[in-house]
Amino acid sequence: MARLIARDVRKVFPPTRSGQEPVHALRNISFEAEGHTFVTLVGPSGCGKSTFLNMVSGIDQPSAGSLQVLGRAEGPARIGYVFQDPRLLPWKTVLENMVYVQDGGSSEDKAAKGKEFLDLVGLGTSGSMYPGQLSGGMQQRVGIARALSIGPDLLLMDEPFSHLDAITARDLRVELQRLWLDTGATVLFVTHDVMEAVLLSSRVIMISSQGIVFRDLTIDLPFPRKQTEKEVAILQADILQLFEEMERPTVIA
């Protein structure tokens, strides 16, 4: 479990050509997340959700403000990252992909850990296969197993099911709830799918297309949840209503 502290985080992309305006991807994002919680950033495409995850992971840096991730132990927090596409090394086997991100321990230990987490996502027998031999859903499960295998304090997930067909995505959402309940990780999830946000999250942070936090909502429904539950549908409708309100232009008299 981790503690994530975001204070007035801004991200501005400088112009790439003269005459272009800088792009303000995020303005003043502030929130905290701690413990066994599943936080989802939801917002329209291009509102800076993925940029925020990249900054949390260290791939990118904020232009202003501060981002802190505190882990359980001394030293830098362990952060697992599940990307939109699985980002597996295609020339390495599934098990070698698991070993690739492990640090410390012998080769045997790393392989054993990789195998353990492949078992956890139901791919224990696929370790010797290459990613190209797996379906999109199986590849994404490898991506999830890889992220969990490092024992993350914080698990980042960037629209991990957006490239999958509806049935596979539904199955993986069920699986993700089980894994989150089992591992007790802190999860920061990004999606533009409101149903997905309601189904998976204990907390939903709505980001507007201007890159600011519009609402910070607690989803107080018991886990595990199902897509077909009435309460999920009602909450989804409520949040969509809030989105309409958020995107409505303000009329100044």
Binding site: S57, I59, R87, L89, P90, W91, Y100, V101, G132, I150
Partner: protein
């Protein structure tokens, strides 16, 4: 609609003449046709040696003890030269991809290396070092290295950005990123570049031996050229070709198959 057994698509029937249109038969047919054309040309024109005459010459050359000794000398020169090409080509190509100063300093030199013919280098090294082992090795290196440098540079720039970002997010150590991500992603380029480099390097060694050496396959071909022996020139030309073909088939094709094994269904690829 009801599907009945007759609707099921059947595999096309196998005809008795099917083997005639297989790829293996196509390859052997090409070889036999080439041999027949050679035989016809040798019979029709006095200046062109026949396959039989060439073969008989090679048997005589074998008995004179020239085949193994000259091939060994040329191969040692080529192996040393091509090993240097591999080290230099990879190092310079990677350095050019990583540091822009190196890139801008070396770009013109690499262009010179590519455009200056091995023929000119061959004449120069004969003037500089005479009949020594240095000349063939140096020309092999200067002619072949640029081919590998260019491909390595392109390969290094083609390393998939999303996988680099993933490795950064997981704090994968740099040496592991290099061995597991950068090098494998460049293999397609490196092998293609090294294949061209081998052809250029082998040709360069033979050229220097032809122009200014007293040993080697190139020298022996020149010897028989001076003697006006067509079978001799053709026989040693055949040896030059067989060596490079054997190396490509036995070594390079296996290397290509090995690094492409992750591609699904690649087992049956013919390269």
């Amino acid at each position: 609609m009801t599907l009945v057994a007759d609707d099921v698509i059947q595999a096309p029937p196998r005809h008795w003449y099917g083997w005639l249109v297989s790829d293996r038969v196509a390859r052997y047919t090409a070889r036999v046709v080439a041999l027949l054309i050679w035989q016809w040309a040798g019979t029709a024109f006095e200046e062109i040696p026949t396959p039989r005459g060439t073969f008989e010459f090679l048997v005589d050359e074998w008995h004179r003890g020239e085949i193994i000794s000259n091939i060994s000398i040329s191969l040692v020169r080529a192996v040393i030269g091509l090993a240097l090409v591999l080290v230099l080509g990879l190092a310079i190509g990677l350095a050019m991809a990583k540091w822009w100063r190196v890139r801008y300093t070396l770009t013109d030199l690499i262009l010179v290396g590519i455009t200056l013919p091995a023929f000119i280098w061959a004449l120069l090294v004969v003037m500089w070092w005479g009949f020594s082992n240095i000349g063939p090795i140096v020309v092999c290196v200067v002619s072949a290295t640029p081919q590998l440098v260019v491909n390595t540079f392109q390969g290094a720039n083609a390393t998939p950005g999303p996988l680099v970002a993933m490795s950064g997010a997981y704090h994968v150590p740099t040496d592991r990123q290099f061995r597991w991500l950068v090098i494998p992603s460049m293999m397609e380029y490196i092998v293609a570049g090294y294949r061209s480099a081998i052809l250029a390097g082998w040709g360069a060694v033979l050229l220097v031996e032809w122009f200014g050496n007293d040993k080697g396959v190139g020298f022996r071909a020149h010897y028989w050229y001076d003697a006006g022996n067509f079978e001799g020139v053709m026989g040693w030309g055949l040896i030059m070709m067989v060596i490079i073909l054997l190396f490509d088939r036995v070594v390079m094709e296996r290397v290509v198959r090995h690094y492409r094994r992750w591609r699904v269904g690649s087992a049956g690829w013919s390269v």
